[in-house]
């Protein structure tokens, strides 16, 4: 059985993914701010380095999977936190365990969002994150923006994360490490429990076809099962994929985009 590391697995999609992987007999390491096997703040450089040091110390022979899932929604969170946690908390952690993944021909799966397809993302920020990922400068640039407009930054970090995975996947795949993104739709999590009323109205306007006439939010397990599969050796044919796990929302709103 394998060793899988998940960030942000104390609740929501991450917790469900950890539960599924454990059921499959794997060892799971949760890196989270609270209640983690490794407690670390992945929104900071120090926190990431602490977690990476701990992983290298505990698993010198390598790991089978890295699932970069920790993230925060826009709306209430400060914009710098969204940028630092959602993008740098994922890419720095993934790159930091690349050597461990190579040892076991493992996989890396990042949690993006189907909001990347809705045209909401600040594409200027996406460009900065992907092309000039200087965290301090970007954080300084966005620090004074109103958190109420955070969704555009949230979508930007998730868009950049998916594009980062696409860009890196060829080199990683050729090195024996698969790299993919899963893009969930609207899922019932701690993040969605704390939405502002107007955000909830907007969220419910993004319909999930498989939930038509029913609970508008997906269950975390629906996405967690997809992540667990993408991370597993059974999905060895997948690399560089952005897989929408949204019950068909993307197809509903963007049926003409087939690639």
């Amino acid at each position: 059985m394998g060793v899988y590391v998940i960030t942000g697995a104390s609740s929501g999609i991450g917790a469900k993914t950890a539960e599924i992987l454990k059921k499959h007999g794997h060892e799971v390491v949760n890196i989270d701010l609270k209640d983690g096997d490794i407690s670390a703040n992945l929104a900071t450089k120090e926190g990431r380095q602490f977690a990476l040091n701990a992983l290298h110390e505990q698993y010198p022979d390598g790991i089978d999977g890295m699932i970069c899932n920790a993230g925060v929604a826009g709306g209430r969170a400060p914009i710098p936190l969204i940028v630092s946690l959602n993008y740098f908390g994922a890419t720095v952690m993934a790159e930091g365990v690349f050597d461990l993944l190579k040892k076991k021909h493992g996989s890396c799966t990042v949690t993006s969002s189907n909001s990347i397809a809705h045209g909401d993302a600040r594409m200027d920020v996406v460009g900065m994150l992907n092309n000039n990922p200087d965290e301090a400068r970007i954080v300084n640039l966005v620090k004074d923006y109103d958190p109420a407009g955070g969704h555009a930054f949230y979508a930007a970090t998730k868009y950049a994360l998916a594009r980062w995975a696409r860009r890196m996947s060829a080199q990683w795949g050729a090195s024996g490490v698969r790299l993919n993104a899963v893009a969930p739709g609207n899922v019932r999590t701690a993040m969605t429990d704390n939405l502002l009323p107007e955000q909830r109205v907007a969220m419910e306007a993004i319909q999930v076809p498989t939930h038509y006439g029913d609970e508008p939010l997906m269950d975390p397990e629906e996405v967690a099962n997809v992540i667990a599969f993408v991370a597993s050796p059974e999905a060895r044919g997948l690399n560089g994929v952005v897989l929408f796990a949204d019950g068909g929302t993307d197809a509903l709103l963007h049926s003409e985009k087939v690639y």
């Binding site: 907007a202 419910e204 306007a205 319909q207 038509y212 509903l252």
Partner: protein, 109 residues
């Protein structure tokens, strides 16, 4: 007439009433969005129409203004796609035995 129900639903931004105008097996094509740099719309079935227009009416910025009924199957209106307006012509191509729309196509007028 079904076209009146269709227009009323559009003007009221009532996605449930709009979907009720369509048969379960139906299709609605809109060729106007590409004129404003957006994806054209191809929807199949009343539930898809319900969900799609729930999105468009609430957060997508779609609305219809100043409809003029041409005949029992045709209406022209100003379609507002999030601030950009296209003069459009909606044509009911087919209805089923119960009078529900099976096929409707919207084109630039």
């Amino acid at each position: 007439m079904i076209i009146d129900d269709y227009i009323k639903a559009l003007q009221n931004k009532d996605y449930e009433a709009l979907s009720a105008c369509f048969a379960e097996r139906s299709r609605m094509f809109d060729y106007c969005p590409s004129l404003v740099g957006r994806e054209n719309t191809f929807l199949f079935g009343d539930k898809a129409i319900d969900m799609y227009f729930h999105n468009q009416f609430v957060i997508g910025g779609f609305s219809v203004e100043d409809p003029h009924v041409v005949n029992s199957r045709t209406v022209n209106f100003y379609a507002n796609y999030a601030g950009t307006i296209i003069h459009a012509l909606a044509q009911i191509e087919n209805v089923d035995d119960s009078g529900k729309i099976q096929e409707l196509v919207i084109r630039p007028a």
